[in-house]
Symmetry: C2
Subunit: 107 residues, 2 copies
DNA sequence: TGAACATATGAACAATTATTCATATAATGT
DNA sequence: ACATTATATGAATAATTGTTCATATGTTCA
């Protein structure tokens, strides 16, 4: 039988503060339209920084800053190929979270 | 045959800016731990403002402000019963979004 | 080695935001 | 009408955050 980890607080019955804070931090990554656009663009294929900045019509610096934030949250990863650095989603969850968001607003 | 609404931009092939901004705005509602806690608490049952503030150990005012924000995003609704106002989730999407967030961080 | 290109980074700034405090609104019971 | 209880709201404040600008780092090729 699989071990069941208890994430709930004994008093409130809710998940411990830490977990719900982590949930909020996760969604914070999706709460900025630039980041959402970046992640959406990466759903199909990997892209380099310049690709993304011209696709979104934003400066290389702005994109680079946001990519760093997404990477620190482990939502994107990258690989270098010569001078170019390609970014990709690091997790299928990203796709389904965005899909669910679109679902909700289009309902 | 159902009518297919095109939400994509012709140039980029991505959903139009407006939609991805709306997605970001939706997730912004889930990007604050107080709001996440409130919505989690409302998953089971409706609660009045005082219930929520004592459950989360926060002031009535802070909770009231956040409830207003959630209501303006149509994520919660309320009903009055005498002096008391009960809040509830207005949408099953809320549950599944939070569940998916928890899923991701617990994986 | 040096020029050219791709990306990263730090500081600064404006804008947004969550909470607090004080007070207002609304409903109830006496 | 008045005191009490429940909730809402406006202003103020501190903290966080996204973008810009200037510059640094790292890679390639001649």
């Amino acid at each position: 039988m699989a071990k069941k980890v208890n994430i709930n607080d004994k008093k409130t019955g809710m998940p411990k503060d830490e977990y719900l804070s982590d949930v909020a931090d996760l969604f914070k990554m999706f709460s900025d339209s630039t980041r959402v656009k970046i992640m959406f663009a990466l759903m199909d294929k990997e892209l380099c920084v310049m690709d993304i900045s011209s696709l979104l019509n934003m400066t290389q610096s702005a994109i680079s800053h946001q990519l760093k934030i997404l990477k620190s949250a482990n939502l994107v990863s990258n690989r270098r190929e010569g001078k170019t650095i390609y970014y990709m989603l690091s997790d299928d969850h990203v796709k389904s979270i965005i899909a669910q968001g679109l679902d909700h607003i289009l309902e």
